[in-house]
Amino acid sequence: MAGKVQIPTKNSALISMIADEDTVVGFLLAGVGNVDLRRKTNYLIVDSKTTVKQIEDAFKEFTTREDIAIVMISQYVANMIRFLVDSYNKPIPAILEIPSKDHPYDPAHDSVLSRVKNLFSTESVASGRR
């Protein structure tokens, strides 16, 4: 099939994060954090001093790295780089927008969920349910 995206089968891939400090700390506590030989982390802590440029770079780096399967990104952070998130269309790594502690989660902003909702509602209307 032309233009088909190859799905790599890997036995060990990482979860990376771009989120606020609390969320990152929580997940690090669970043990997703990784630091490689060059002291590169698989997470980015976003605070008030983090620039959009930094977030963009981190997002680009995480989505191009081979060893990352899932990129979790706080929704308010995703909103800052919405254009990047929306234009991203590869299946792997998967982009997950997660709620953060001090920003309420808005399903309307989620690029995937909005599509899902859209499809789901048309389907429900078609089948006469909901």
Partner: protein, 366 residues
């Protein structure tokens, strides 16, 4: 958006109306459908013509004149259809000529393949048609299978996203608890202790109707150094918090694999549908047209052959008659010569004798 549907004559017009409606919505322009040029609606339309960018005409062969007479915007029917090429198929077969024109204009390529009309080619085309039909059926099945899977995934995604909110809330709360008990500085300890990931992702493929979908699984690999975090105080809370986050990761990984499957399937369904439609609307009609063209040409050849044979037959018959007449003439000549020799008269008088004998009476025998 002005959409007016009025006076639909029959099903085909209905289809056209629907299609043009869709089209209008897509193009974000206003559009109207009329099929009776003498209706009040049409009059009103003509009055407010500037509101309508498209005038969709159902029974255009009648409308054309009145359009040109009365509509100040003066779209001719041809130009109308040229601007809506994808609609041409839905136009009822009322105006064959117009349709053919549109077909020709549509893509600049004729609707049949460029082949030599021979019996061999006919066989090949028929084989291709069979192949196309089978392929179409198979692809349709594939598309259906994918759609079923797709809908299941849709439902799962919606529930997973909802549960994700709850799980994240509990985990955030447990972190707050841990912070309260162990002090705010545990985050520094945690950040310091990061070395290699204890929770990793294993991805494998799942095959659905030839489409490979990724599935993620998480697994623990070794121990974290965080086991000793909070040894001084709040250790239990921290372990609880850790458990909560591991649970959150479970949900998130599940969600991620669903989401990835969703995107992949979406793409696959689009491609499959495109192929199904291409086969159904382009390839198959084209092959069918080619077959009918070849059949027509072969019939034509046969008729030509038949005609030629008839012609040759007639020619031969005439030729034989001519020869027979010549032979007869020759025989007469010889006879006359013989008589002239026998009786001692000239050849011309012998001729006269013979012809006089032939004319006078058949009963007279020499």
């Amino acid at each position: 958006m002005n959409c007016i549907l009025h006076n639909l004559y029959d099903n085909k017009d209905c289809l056209g109306a629907k299609l043009s409606l869709n089209l209008g919505i897509k193009m974000g322009c206003s559009l109207s459908f009329i099929s009776d040029p003498y209706s009040k609606l049409f009059n009103r339309l003509c009055d407010y013509w500037q509101n309508f960018h498209w005038l969709w005409i159902g029974s255009f062969w009648r409308v054309e004149q009145s359009l040109q007479d009365r509509c100040p915007f003066g779209i001719s029917v041809n130009s109308l259809f040229r601007s809506i090429p994808s609609v041409h198929r839905r136009i009822s077969g009322r105006s064959v000529l117009l349709r053919q024109q549109i077909l020709k204009k549509m893509s600049g390529q004729s609707q049949r393949l460029n082949v030599v009309p021979t019996v061999t080619m006919l066989g090949a085309m028929k084989a291709r048609l069979v192949g196309a039909t089978r392929g179409h059926a198979l692809l349709k099945k594939k598309s259906d299978a994918l759609t079923v899977q797709f809908r299941q995934i849709l439902k799962k995604i919606v529930t997973a996203k909802e549960s994700m909110g709850d799980v994240m809330k509990t985990s955030a709360f447990s972190l707050t608890e841990a912070k309260y008990v162990a002090g705010d500085n545990i985050k520094h300890i945690v950040l310091e202790n990061v070395q290699t990931a204890a929770i990793k992702i294993r991805s494998r493929q799942e095959n659905i109707a030839g489409v490979k979908l990724p599935k993620f699984e998480h697994y623990s690999d070794g121990e974290t150094k965080n086991d000793l975090t909070g040894l001084a105080r709040g250790g239990q809370q921290i372990q609880l918090c850790r458990g909560a986050y591991v649970k959150a990761i479970e949900v998130l990984v599940e969600l991620a694999s669903l989401q990835t499957s969703f995107l992949t399937l979406d793409e696959a369904i689009k491609t499959t549908n495109r192929r199904v439609n291409a086969l159904e609307n382009v390839v198959k009609p084209r092959i069918e047209n080619t077959i009918s063209y070849i059949k027509g040409e072969l019939d034509e050849l046969e008729r030509e052959d038949f005609f030629r044979l008839k012609k040759i037959q007639g020619y031969k018959r005439r030729e034989i008659e001519k020869q027979r007449a010549n032979a007869k003439l020759f025989a007469e000549e010889q006879l006359a010569e013989k008589i002239s020799l026998q009786k001692g008269v000239s050849i011309s008088s012998a001729h006269n004798l013979l012809s006089a004998a032939a004319e006078k009476d058949e009963d007279i025998i020499f």
